[in-house]
């Protein structure tokens, strides 16, 4: 996972609030994953435009945590979701 890569939800994955429980969940074909507040904070920033590095910086600032500590947690969370096939990491697009 490189700092420049751009994480985003897969086409099949939908992030939504479960009206029944109030929890955030990821929905995908014949399955769902209940998210903890940390994962929600990360995924809300994964808009398919921001880089991993930018996401980590924002979260580090928001929660007052050192960047390397935050990066470790974010990468761990995204890697789990990637292995489940729920997110994808796009290559960074060249900036003009």
């Amino acid at each position: 996972m490189t700092p420049g890569c751009v994480p985003g939800l897969n086409a099949k994955t939908r992030l939504q609030v479960d009206r029944y429980s109030g929890d955030h969940v990821l929905l995908y074909p014949e399955g769902l994953l209940k998210l903890n507040p940390g994962a929600v904070a990360i995924l809300e920033l994964c808009d398919g435009k921001r880089s991993l590095e930018e996401i980590c910086r924002r979260l580090a600032a928001r929660f007052g945590v050192a960047l390397d500590v935050m990066s470790f947690d974010v990468e761990e969370c995204l890697e789990k979701l990637r292995q489940k096939g729920l997110i994808e990491l796009r290559a960074p697009t060249a900036r003009p």
Binding site: N10, K12, R14, Q16, R19, L27, Y28, P29, E30, L32
Partner: protein
């Protein structure tokens, strides 16, 4: 007992289907031209399902594309925040229909295949459909739907499981369901034609396992193991009235798609009662809910919360009583009924099928 929250609604919109698969999960007593719920009645079902906590709407049938109001129902599901999945034979999945469904907010498409090969596929479906399925799968991908393929496994296609997996890869499927035939209803009627040899199953399981490992991260393979060759029953529907409900074309609400085959059970209809009442209060949904109904050997078994006593339809079919332990369990007193049928998988093979057609079950 307090009813748990349901997560999935299987909406069987119609029993009409251009295919005639001999293992169809629809009832044996199919009537042609039978009444179906109207658009507004289905929308009420979707609303009430959402209020109960359902998050997944699976539009199935028969062939759901036979309903001209499918996109309206998909749009309704989308507005309610339900994740919608179209379970289709792909017959009728034209470009205009696919784009209409995409606009309506359909989340995912699942296409059934009978085999990887068009001659065998058409033979099993009882209709020349394999080629159009391939085209529909490509269309689904090009319109931007995540694609699942599902293939029911039996004697006639199990040896080709590697080719089936290659086909799914080539079509860009994200998910492949390989499900051994469940022998009730039409499949039970065709058991002598469909039941594989034990060796076939062992080889197939090995090949599926290897492919699942190789494809991890690119294509998920969901493997549904065969009932007749194991020692413990499957956790059917993850428990009766626990996670899923099925509404059939007439509006009857069932804990599973085949429960209507259980003799002596009566299922309430959304035309008379709310879905909430049926799920929470009705006799049918409470009859096998939880563990209190269980006889021995289930009652004192440490697996009872894992397999829920297996399948009620199979217990009814093979032991004559749906409240018995599933004979797929090695501890079932009725185990012999299943062993007699499977004979270790070396039964006389009947070469032909009773195809699924209205009226054909009397044959």
């Amino acid at each position: 007992m307090t009813a748990p929250r349901p997560y999935g609604l299987l909406a069987e919109l119609t029993y009409r289907c251009p295919l005639h698969c001999p293992y169809c999960s629809n009832p044996l007593s199919l009537e042609s031209g039978a009444a179906e719920l109207s658009t507004s009645e289905w929308m009420k079902v979707l609303h009430e399902a959402s209020e109960l906590g359902v998050l997944h709407a699976l539009f199935s049938g028969g062939e759901p594309l036979q309903r001209p109001d499918l996109a309206d129902l998909v749009e309704c599901a989308r507005r309610l925040g339900l994740y919608s999945n179209l379970i289709t034979s792909a017959v009728g999945f034209s470009r205009s229909r696919a784009e209409e469904l995409k606009r309506a907010g359909l989340d995912s498409v699942q296409i059934s295949f009978q085999a990887d090969d068009h001659e065998l596929g058409d033979h099993l479906a009882g209709a020349p459909v394999h080629k159009s399925k391939l085209e529909a799968a490509q269309l689904a991908r090009s319109v931007g739907f995540p694609l699942t393929l599902n293939v029911v496994l039996h004697r006639h296609n199990m040896d080709r499981v590697e080719a089936v997996i290659s086909m799914a890869e080539a079509l860009g499927a994200e998910r492949l369901e390989l499900a051994h035939t469940q022998y009730y209803g039409w499949a039970f009627k065709n058991l002598e034609s469909l039941l594989p040899d034990r060796e076939q199953i062992q080889v197939a399981a090995l090949r599926v396992g290897e492919a699942a490992h190789r494809l991890r991260g690119s294509m998920e393979i969901v493997y549904v193991t065969p009932d007749y060759f194991g020692t413990r029953p499957k956790p059917c529907m993850n428990g009766w009235g626990r996670r899923y409900l099925t509404v059939n074309p007439r509006g009857e609400v069932l804990p599973c798609p085949t429960a209507g085959e259980i003799k002596g059970m009566r299922f309430d209809s959304v035309l008379k009662n709310s879905l909430g009442w049926i799920w929470n209060e009705s006799e049918a949904f409470n009859r096998f809910r939880g563990t209190d109904w269980m006889p021995e050997p289930c009652r004192s078994c440490d697996q009872r919360e894992l397999d829920f006593g297996g399948c009620r339809c199979q217990a009814a079919l093979l032991s004559g009583d749906p409240s018995h332990t599933d004979p797929a369990c090695e501890f079932s007193p009725y185990r012999q009924s299943l062993l007699d049928l499977s004979k270790g998988g070396s039964t006389t093979v009947r070469p032909d099928f009773v195809y699924r057609r209205p009226g054909a079950s009397a044959l």
